[in-house]
Amino acid sequence: MHLNIAAQINSFLAALILLTAFGMLVQRRMYGLIHLFAWQGLFLSISTAVVGFVAGKQHLYISSVLTLSLKVILLPYILHVLTQRLKIQREVETIVNVPLTMLIGIALVIFSYHLMAPVRELSTLVTRSTLAVGLATVLIGLLMMITRRHAVTQIIGFLAMENGLFFAATSATYGMPLVVELGVALDILIAAFIFGIFFFHIHTTFDSLDVDQMARLKEGD
C-alpha cells in the first residue's frame, strides 16, 4: 500500500514533468520558458526524492538536493540574468507554428510509449511505467532545439533533454551511481557557464542571438 501510493505520486509527477515539457514547447516568452524549466526541475527533484524513499537508496536524496540547487535555483538564475543583460525578454520566434509543434509533440509521446512498451515488460520496478515519459521528455527537448531559432531557447531545450534523461535513469534503474550523477551535474554547470560566455560572444558579433544569422560565417566578410 505504501509502495502503491509512492508509485502514484511518482506517476503524477511524471505527468507534471511531461506537462512542463509541453509547456516549454509552446511557450513564447523567455521568462515563461525559464520559469517552466525551473518547475520541471522542481518536479524532477521531488520525484527523485520519492524514488529514493521507495527504493531506500540514500544517494538519491543527494542527487535530489543537487537537482534542486542546480536546476531549480542556479541555472534559471543564470538564464534570467543572461536574458536581462542581453535584453531578449521579448517573444521567441519559432520555425514551425505552435499548434503543429504541439501535434508533433503528441506524436512523439505516442512513439516513445510504443518504443518503451517491450522494455516495460522486462522491468520489475515500481516506477517502470514512467520510463516512456522520460523518453518523451528527451524527444520533446530535442524537438524544442530543432524548432526554435534562438540560441537561449535551444539551450533550454538541451537542459530539458538532460532533465528527461535524468528522469529516465531514476525511474528505470533507481538512479545511476552517485559518482556518475555528480559528474553529470558538474558537466551541466560547466556547460551553462560556457553557454553564457558564448551567448555574449554571439551577441556582440552578430547583434542577435538568432542562430540563422550564423550562416554569414560562410561568406567570410
Binding site: S11, F12, A14, P99, I106, A132
Partner: protein
C-alpha cells in the same frame, strides 16, 4: 418501476430553470465586487428576462423560419441537456438513453442553429459572429470529446451518471489522466460558454464579440429565451464539470434522503465555481482571435495527454 427517478428528473429541470439565472447573477455580482463597482444584485438576470418577455418582437423583413425557430430550439436543447447531467442524484431515467456524446451533440445542434440564424438575417455582424463561432467550435469540440473519452476510459462508460458513481466510489486519488482531463475541460468550458479569454459576454464591441454578434438581431421573447438558454449553458457546464470531476455530494442511486443534502452541496459548489470563474476572468485578458487556435490547441493537447497518461502511467 419506481416513480421517484422521474420526480428527481423533473425537480432537476426545474432547478436548472430557476437556479441558472441566479448563478449568472452571482458571477456578475462577484465580478462587480472584484472590480470595485456596486452590483445590480443576484436577481438582476430574472428582472432582465421578465423585461424581455414583456417586450414586442421586432423581426427583420427577410427573416425566415430558421430565425424564428432557433430561440425555441436553443432553449429546448438546454432543458434537455439538464435532464442528462446528474445535478441532484445519479438516478436519472433520461441518462440511460443519452450519454455524454449525445450531450455534446445537443450543444452542437444549438450552436449550429444559432450560427444559421446569425447568417439568416443577412447582416454583416451575424455572418461574422457565425464564422467565428464555427471556427471556435471546430477546435473546441474535438478537445471536448477527447476530454470526455479520457473520463470514460477511467470509468469504462460514457454515461454521465455511471461516471459520477465510479468517481464517488473511486479509490485512487492522484490520477494524472483525470487531472489532465479536468484542465482541458476548464479551458473548453471557458470557450464553449463564451467567457473571457475567448469571448466577452458583457461587450457589444464589434471587433471582439462572437456570441453576441450572432444574436444581435434578436429582440423580445426570442432574446429572452436565448439569454436564458446561455445562462443555462453556463450552469450546465459547471454541473457537467462537477458531475465528472467532483461528484461528491450528489445523491447515490435510490438514496432519496440524500437529495436535500445534494441540493445544498450543489449550491455550495456553485458558489465556489463562481469564485473560480471570476478569478480566471479577472486574471486574464481577452485573447486575440488568432491566438485562440493555440488556446484550444492546448486544450486538445491536455486532453490527449490525459488519454495517453491513462495508458502509460495507470
Amino acid at each position: 418501476m419506481s416513480i421517484y427517478p422521474y420526480m428527481i428528473e423533473i425537480a432537476q429541470i426545474l432547478i436548472l430553470l430557476a437556479v441558472a439565472p441566479a448563478f449568472a447573477g452571482w458571477v456578475k455580482v462577484l465580478k462587480c465586487w472584484s472590480q470595485g463597482r456596486g452590483s445590480a444584485g443576484l436577481f438582476q438576470p430574472y428582472r432582465d428576462i421578465r423585461k424581455l418577455f414583456s417586450k414586442d418582437v421586432v423581426l427583420a423583413e427577410n427573416a425566415s423560419w430558421i430565425f424564428r425557430f432557433t430561440p425555441y430550439l436553443v432553449f429546448g436543447t438546454a432543458v434537455l441537456a439538464g435532464g442528462i447531467i446528474p445535478v441532484l442524484s445519479v438516478d436519472l431515467p433520461l441518462a440511460a438513453t443519452a450519454d455524454v456524446i449525445v450531450l455534446v451533440a445537443l450543444f452542437a445542434i444549438a450552436r449550429f442553429f444559432t450560427a444559421l440564424a446569425g447568417l439568416d438575417i443577412g447582416t454583416a455582424f451575424g455572418g461574422m459572429g457565425s464564422s467565428r463561432e464555427m471556427t471556435i467550435a471546430s477546435l473546441a469540440e474535438p478537445a471536448m470529446l477527447m476530454a470526455i473519452f479520457t473520463m470514460s476510459l477511467a470509468s469504462k462508460s460514457t454515461s454521465l451518471s455511471h461516471m459520477a458513481q465510479v468517481v464517488i466510489s473511486g479509490q485512487s486519488v492522484l490520477r494524472p489522466s483525470i487531472s489532465f482531463a479536468l484542465l482541458a475541460f476548464i479551458l473548453i468550458a471557458l470557450a464553449e460558454t463564451g467567457r473571457i479569454p475567448v469571448d466577452n459576454p458583457a461587450t457589444h464591441l464589434e471587433l471582439t464579440m462572437i456570441h453576441e454578434a450572432m444574436i444581435l438581431e434578436y429582440s423580445g421573447r426570442h432574446l429572452a429565451l436565448i439569454e436564458w438558454a446561455s445562462m443555462m449553458k453556463l450552469f450546465l457546464f459547471v454541473m457537467l464539470g462537477i458531475a465528472a470531476f467532483f461528484p461528491w455530494g450528489i445523491a447515490a442511486s435510490g438514496d432519496l434522503l440524500a437529495v436535500p443534502a445534494a441540493f445544498f452541496f450543489m449550491l455550495l459548489k456553485l458558489v465556489f465555481a463562481g469564485i473560480g470563474l471570476v478569478l480566471i476572468e479577472t486574471g486574464l485578458a481577452k485573447m486575440r482571435l488568432f491566438r485562440l487556435t493555440e488556446f484550444l490547441g492546448s486544450a486538445f493537447l491536455l486532453a490527449t495527454l490525459g488519454m495517453l497518461s491513462y495508458f502509460i502511467l495507470e
